[in-house]
């Protein structure tokens, strides 16, 4: 995908408003993890508009977004920066750009597709298996929750799994 095509693809996924960005930085100044990012959200949008695909997709910022939506509430142009982040995550996945963060989303969605609901135990276990350095904090959390009777292997079963599969098939290649 060329730079220009990349820009158009993000706009298709996240909205035409992106073209009207005035680079005011309201998004970045509202962001709770801005101080940890390599590119601010404002700059990420600039990278998208300039077709700088490789830099945009390699940016750690895509994965530091917590989906809090404060940027989306405040953007004076009605841009949804979180939707831009989601579009970039989606393109990363399509292009096979791997990361621990992407693996978490993959596991999460696979679990919805196979069980209909999320089991926190299975989610944590699957994530720790792929990312062994995450195992210690996950175990620590597990022990705390277990001692409070808040660990359950069974999230209950969903009957309408065919329906969920149909939803995935209809929209997954969006």
């Amino acid at each position: 995908m060329s730079g220009a095509k990349f820009t158009e693809e993000v706009i298709r996924l996240a909205g035409e408003e992106i073209r009207t960005c005035i680079q005011c930085g309201t998004c970045s100044s509202s962001c709770s993890t801005a101080h940890l990012m390599d590119n601010s959200i404002r700059k990420l949008i600039r990278l998208v508009l300039d077709g700088r695909k490789i830099e945009a997709l390699a940016s750690d910022s895509i994965w530091l977004c917590t989906s809090c939506l404060l940027c989306t509430v405040r953007c004076p142009r009605g841009i949804r920066p979180k939707a831009v982040v989601s579009a970039l995550r989606q393109i990363c996945e399509r292009e096979g750009i791997r990361s621990r963060d992407a693996s978490f989303e993959r596991i999460f969605m696979d679990q919805i597709r196979s069980m209909g609901r999320i089991s926190e135990v299975l989610l944590s276990a699957a994530y720790a298996l792929r990312n062994p350095d995450a195992a210690v904090p996950i175990m620590e959390m597990g022990i705390e929750l277990l001692s409070r009777g808040k660990v359950s292997l069974d999230p209950g079963s969903v009957k309408g799994m065919d329906e969920i599969e149909r939803i995935f098939r209809e929209f997954e290649n969006e």
Partner: protein, 281 residues
Amino acid sequence: MSEIAYYPGCVSKATGREYDISTRSVARALGIELIELEDWSCCGATHVPNEMLSVGLAARNLTQSSLPIMTTCSICYSNLRSAIRRLEDNGLRARLNSVLERKYKGARVMHVVEMLSESLKNRELPIKLSGLRVSPYYGCLLTRPGNGIDSPEHPKVLEDLVRTLGAEPVESPLKMLCCGGPVFMSREDAALESAYHILMSAKRAGADMIMAVCPLCHLMLDAKQGTIERRYGVDLRIPVLYITQLAGIALGLGPDDLALGMNSISPLPLVERVYQSMTAD
């Protein structure tokens, strides 16, 4: 008795069990019959980057009842409300309906905050919480992106509810900062840092406790509080109660009904204090 459909969400079965237990107890006490959605599934939370797929997964739940649907999780709530807005688009609605078992024909969704605000109005509460300083923690998705419950910038719905319960709302400047929950597994440092600042902010404001309205926020502020204390070398020990647990105390429900033993930072000394100040009156 009024009937409301209940969408518990995945977390209610494990990490957020005390939220589920206390929600059911409080509803019973208020004369509300909660009817759990028959075959609910995950709303997609914040981990489905494909927006159309996310709308589809959330919307499946909206077709399972003709009653108003209540949820206790702010992520589920925001997703369900967003799905309703997106499905005003006839093209998307038709596409979704072509794969759904039951057709989507519109839905009404409320947060447990709305259910409580409505049903506690003009109600005599047996237990007085006067003197209890409560820091309401909004987090992100109760009000955002524009769920209609209150202003996403200057909300007051939780302060009003704290006053309705007879307690005193305390203003914490970081009451709307994200708890970091959605990235706590993949970006633990970032998540703990956010939660640390929120806890400190409530503590500095002089709160006796924090009131939470979302199970992921609660996890970050309560279950992770010990980890945060160790990491930052601070002594916090501030109880974080779910809104339903606090409402249940005011309604005179007991610790078991409200699963008060499941919170990591025990709220029992605080509850004891409430009872003692009542007998002293």
